[in-house]
Symmetry: C2
């Protein structure tokens, strides 16, 4: 047996370099050479651990999903206050710190390419539906009374697209959407969503 290297470790190092490149130059600035340069190695090493560029992108994407899911799964299952619980989970979708900002950048970059890639679209579709379902449960738990049908779905959707829009704007123009503003808007949106429970 020849010299042994931790493949998982190497792959995650390269993947980290990829994230950094995307955060600095966007997906269109992502090349094997730029990744290699950022990782401090040669393209040979990159291709040694990832068959081709598609495999590299796929890994970065799966890492992204994993990180997001892990962060949410790490949350306490039940909160004393259902509204606080809802807020805590929803907040995970916002780029409120360095880590989540980086994730949001990668997320939005991949999201746009989704439009022209059927395979990515299917992945996104199920992931998005699952996210909506999770929030639906939490919103229902936080609502004061029994929601009317349809009414609930629209409230949840309003929350979901609000989160996406918030993240998108924060990624595009961070100075115009600082964490403080994001939090206030989310609080307000939760107020609005949970406030009345009647057909207007």
């Amino acid at each position: 047996m020849p010299r042994q290297v931790d493949h998982v470790q190497r792959r995650s190092e390269i993947s980290a370099a990829l994230w950094q490149v995307v955060s600095e130059s966007g997906l269109e600035g992502l090349t094997l050479r730029s990744v290699a340069a950022t990782a401090g190695c040669t393209t040979g090493m990159v291709t040694h651990y990832f068959r081709d560029k598609k495999a590299l992108l796929a890994h970065a994407r799966s890492v992204m999903h994993r990180r997001m899911a892990d962060r949410i799964d790490a949350m306490p299952l039940r909160h004393s206050d259902p509204r606080a619980h809802l807020y805590a989970v929803a907040e995970q979708a916002l780029p409120l710190d360095e880590e989540r900002h980086l994730e949001a950048v990668v997320w939005s970059s991949f999201l746009l390419t989704t439009r022209t890639d059927q395979e990515l679209l299917r992945e996104h579709s199920v992931s998005h539906a699952s996210w909506v379902r999770r929030l639906t449960t939490l919103v229902r738990a936080a609502l004061p009374g029994e929601p009317e049908p349809g009414n609930l779905e629209e409230r949840v959707r309003a929350l979901v697209v609000c989160l996406d829009g918030l993240a998108l704007n924060a990624v595009t123009d961070p100075d115009a959407y600082p964490p403080d503003l994001q939090r206030r808007v989310l609080e307000r949106q939760l107020d609005l969503i949970l406030e009345g429970n009647r057909t207007l």
Copy 2:
């Protein structure tokens, strides 16, 4: 004087081809050759009317802004019902028909590149601020009472990011966000925003 051609017309034809390419292959699939092929001409003609690719992109962007602004300016200045007026204007930001869907695709594509381009960021910044200001006026007019300070801004922001998120999701996965759903969510969001007017 030699043979004369309507430059404006030609440029708009090429620009239309560019939009089509972007809608089909995204910004990363946009090349002079693909634009020429879609327009049914050669790259020579494209470069004849646009000095370089940057000029072509800039023109397409300005056309986008122009179209969006025109559509909103074409609305009646005053509506009998201020809420209906607000809805009508807000709806213009949603990809509810073919035309607006195409615009939204181009919009989202450009939006992402904004992150790594300082010049584009400044353009976006003023445009976005102006949009927020316009909606603020309309929301204030549609609110039942006098809004509390801060409160109003958060409500408007919640609406703005909701619109962006709605558009983004509709562009990414049109089947999951059909026009009907978009309209319902927007209606609901307006309900929520205009409903209560007290600090919760």
